[in-house]
């Protein structure tokens, strides 16, 4: 697989000995992982070592796993659920994702930064999945909280305006959105992770994003059609 990355010149702000492990990670090496050094590689080196389907360079794979492990440790620091075992598993998952997605590397950043970004998504997806595993989307959306107004302002006329906007928002939600748009949007507002919503609705994450984006656009148009301006929305919600 011939993948040529666009190697960018070192930027003045980052101490780039080209593609050393991300600068912060390299600094930590002698302190915490002196017995486990990571070979410095350019983006091209990484791609060459990892993309030979017949003979992937085992040392490069091990180094990549180490880079991801260290990146995840920093990225997830302070999260109780992210113990050593979890980080180890996610680093391994990240390696597999990176190896299977090499063609998606654009070459506009360090290879290791790209890898860490992928591993971080893998890890967060897993953390969120574990937290929301037993929550049903249907139940979550059905369980409507009691409708109660936000703290009304003292001034009666602006309270009327506020009520009009709240009513318009509910009206648009009820009539201008499809059931699936409404379901996805409300689940998102209630904190359900997109990967979980997508899985329960049988969608990819991008398809889900399009669904909720369309929903937000419908809402925006609906409010405009009701004669409600962005400024009014901003002042109503103190945004």
């Amino acid at each position: 697989m011939a993948i040529v990355s666009g190697r960018r010149p070192p930027s003045p702000g980052l101490d780039l000995s080209d593609d050393a492990a991300a600068s912060g990670l390299t600094l930590a090496l002698p302190i915490f992982l002196g017995a486990n050094p990571v070979t410095e590689r350019t983006n091209e080196d990484w791609l060459r070592s990892l993309s030979e389907m017949a003979a992937v360079d085992d040392a490069a794979v091990a180094d990549l796993r180490e880079v991801l492990r260290r990146g995840l440790r920093r990225a997830l620091s302070g999260r109780a659920a992210a113990d050593d075992g979890f980080i180890e598993d996610m680093a391994q998952e990240g390696v597999l994702k990176v190896l299977s997605g090499l063609a998606m590397f654009r070459g506009d950043c360090r290879f290791t930064t790209w890898g860490i970004t992928i591993a971080v998504r893998v890890a967060f997806t897993e953390l969120r999945r574990a937290r929301w595993r037993d929550v049903s989307l249907d139940r979550l959306v059905e369980d409507a909280p009691a409708r109660c107004p936000t703290t009304p302002p003292a001034d009666g006329s602006s309270q009327d305006a506020r009520q009009a906007i709240l009513a318009a928002m509910h009206g648009v939600l009820d009539s201008d959105l499809t059931d699936r748009q409404r379901q996805a949007l409300v689940a998102e507002l209630r904190g359900m992770p997109q990967a979980e919503i997508a899985a329960q609705m049988g969608l990819t994450r991008n398809a889900l994003y399009k669904l909720t984006h369309d929903a937000r656009q419908n809402l925006k148009r609906g409010l405009e059609a009701a004669g409600i301006s962005g400024d009014e929305v901003r002042s109503t919600f103190d945004l």
């Binding site: 980052l14 950043c109 967060f124 929305v233």
Partner: protein, 80 residues
């Protein structure tokens, strides 16, 4: 359909930020590492990338992942 005041406020915030040409989470992932490097190095962000990064304003999950990536890229004394 009934939303709590907090949910309505968050929805209003999203609606105000909604643009026709937004990108999705998978597309953002392609931009994220470059953006993280520039932000970590406090370097200027080119306009197209800055616009792509507006995804973070309407996507709490990508925003959370981005903050974590940034933490991974910044040394902070080499501690774990």
């Amino acid at each position: 359909m009934s939303l709590s005041p907090d949910e309505l406020r968050e929805l209003a915030r999203y609606v105000l930020l909604t643009r026709p040409d937004e990108i999705g989470c998978d597309d953002w992932l392609g931009h994220a590492p470059r953006y993280a490097e520039l932000v970590a190095a406090r370097e200027p962000v080119p306009e197209p990338l800055r616009r792509a990064a507006e995804h973070l304003d309407v996507c709490p999950e990508c925003a959370e992942e981005f903050r974590a990536c940034l933490a991974a890229l910044t040394a902070e004394g080499g501690s774990d």
